[in-house]
């Protein structure tokens, strides 16, 4: 993901921020940017409010014959991401108030994003995204990833009882060195050294 200094891709970054999908570098950049950019703060609040509204929607039903032709599909993901115009937001809100299947789908999508936040953070792939992917395809892909993330999160909870933290190499090195220190050869075979420039 690129930087936010130009606000060029702010909505995607802000959405990623709420989803816990940013790298530590991106996170620091977004927080610093939010501190000074009133436009982005407004967008950020709009995304937050949209997500909050999802949880408060009433359970009303639209006649099924009518609803099938009007389901929101990819608009739901864009709605969660704060990528819709004010008019589209209003349209989606009206539809959700009357359509139980879309409300259900929206809740699943939101739950998937919550599950993503519980997963261990992974650095993004260096592979560039495929060129020419349409917005609709991107949203479809996000939903697929979100669904897989839910499954992964469930598997993780089942296997270990909760999200696990990575062990770092320093910890392993320290254990090895501590154990080595009772060996006779420890004093003559250096088992631990702090890397430095070649003398």
């Amino acid at each position: 993901m690129a930087g936010v200094s130009s606000c060029w891709d702010r909505e995607e970054l802000l959405s990623g921020y709420l989803d816990g999908e940013l790298t530590s570098g991106e996170l620091a950049e977004v927080v610093a940017h939010l501190d000074g950019c009133t436009d982005c703060i407004a967008v950020f609040r709009r995304i937050q409010e949209a997500r909050s509204l999802v949880r408060q929607l009433p359970d009303l039903d639209l006649p099924s014959a009518l609803a099938a032709a009007l389901h929101l599909g990819d608009l739901l993901s864009a709605y969660l991401d704060g990528e819709l115009s004010p008019q589209d937001v209003e349209h989606v809100g009206d539809h959700l108030a009357l359509c139980a299947p879309c409300r259900s789908e929206l809740r699943e999508l939101d739950a998937a994003r919550t599950a993503v936040r519980a997963l261990p953070r992974l650095e993004p792939s260096l592979e560039p995204p495929p060129l020419g992917a349409s917005t609709a395809r991107r949203h479809w892909a996000r939903r697929a990833v979100a669904a897989a993330a839910v499954a992964a999160a469930i598997a993780l909870v089942v296997n270990t009882g909760g999200p696990a933290a990575f062990v770092d190499r320093d910890t392993l090195a320290n254990r090895h060195t501590a154990r080595t220190s009772v060996e006779q050869g420890f004093a003559v075979i250096p088992a631990f050294a702090t890397p430095a420039e070649t003398p």
Partner: protein, 322 residues
């Protein structure tokens, strides 16, 4: 050594005495030329472990196209070692490691180990190192020269250690550039520092890893609360640890590592100034090996440990739901 003998001026008894002297001298010279017993290596290492000294040490490892070096200040007293890097100090010894900016670590127990019969040593040769009287000892593995250690003649501190690979090339060099025969730290002070709180890693009964691997013996196995298993191997001179880590507990790969093949199996290897790291994966377990073993030993060891085995696409998909 040249011996002359003049029968005209000798009595029978003096001839017998001379002959006995020759036998003694020949036997003495033979013992000088032959490698000393393996337990002499124990003696040398034990003396080095008890030496008190301080100085600046350079460590360089050269292998697989990598040259990695480190410089550090060392104080060694009472069997404990302090490594200093700026304001950071790491205290190591007696199965413990702790530091000014790191949590301490130790183990519930460990096995005793001797040098065994794998290595033999040459007679110590007088040399001068850093302007000090010293003794150079060569360590052999069979006919192969495996290491040369130059000990300070007064303290028995290891002034220089050279480790060679299976083809006789220098693989690792550790040498003091500044050396003093005393440590500013008192033994009691070091023990006091070492008595701070340490995380204790409990022993694990048994392991799926082999009891012996390429001349190394599995001395101890541990298992921490996070399910990370640790097997420690030694051969009396070198040692390595193998960690078995659930793949969801470790970053995939080995940052900075390069691909390395043993018997057609692919590993990632990372050369550091005093250690070599190897990582590979077998199913749901990530393996990390770290140790000071020479490269030819490493290759033999890897060929006797569980080999890498990737997961198929189906395995990965099923793994999400298992």
């Amino acid at each position: 050594m040249t011996w002359t003998w003049s029968p005209e001026c000798r009595t029978a008894s003096s001839r017998a005495a001379s002959a006995a002297a020759i036998v003694v001298a020949v036997l003495a010279s033979l013992s000088m030329a032959a490698p000393a017993r393996a337990d002499d290596l124990d003696d040398y290492l034990e003396r080095a472990a008890k030496a008190d000294y301080a100085g600046r040490r350079v460590v360089v490892t050269m292998w697989n196209g990598a040259n990695e070096a480190a410089v550090g200040d060392i104080e060694h007293a009472g069997g404990m070692m302090i490594l200093k890097d700026g304001d950071t100090e790491v205290l190591i010894g007696g199965g413990k490691l702790g530091g000014t900016e790191m949590p301490g670590i130790t183990f519930s127990s460990w096995s005793a180990e001797g040098a065994g019969t794998k290595y033999t040593t040459s007679e110590a040769t007088p040399v001068t190192r850093l302007g000090r009287s010293a003794r150079s000892v060569t360590i052999f593995e069979g006919d192969l020269k495996r290491a040369t250690i130059v000990f300070d003649a007064v303290t028995w501190a290891p002034l220089t250690t050279e480790i060679y690979d299976g083809e006789g090339r220098l693989f690792r060099l550790s040498t003091f550039t500044e050396f003093g025969p005393v440590s500013a730290r008192a033994y009691a002070a070091l023990r006091e520092q070492a008595s701070d709180a340490y995380e204790v890693v409990p022993e694990q009964a048994g392991s799926t890893l082999p009891v012996r691997a390429a001349g190394y013996e599995r001395l101890d196995t541990y298992l921490d609360a996070d399910g990370i298993a640790h097997a420690f191997y030694g051969d009396g001179l070198f040692s390595f640890s193998v960690f078995e880590i659930p793949t969801d507990r470790v970053e995939p790969g080995l940052e900075g590592g390069t691909a390395f093949e043993v018997g057609g199996a692919r590993y990632l290897v990372l050369v550091e100034p005093a250690e070599i790291w190897v990582s590979w994966q077998r199913g749901e377990i990530a393996f990390m090996l770290v140790g000071d073993v020479p490269p030819d030993h490493l290759i033999d060891v890897l060929s006797e440990l569980p080999a890498p085995k990737g997961r198929s696409f189906i395995d990965k998909i099923l793994g999400l739901f298992s």
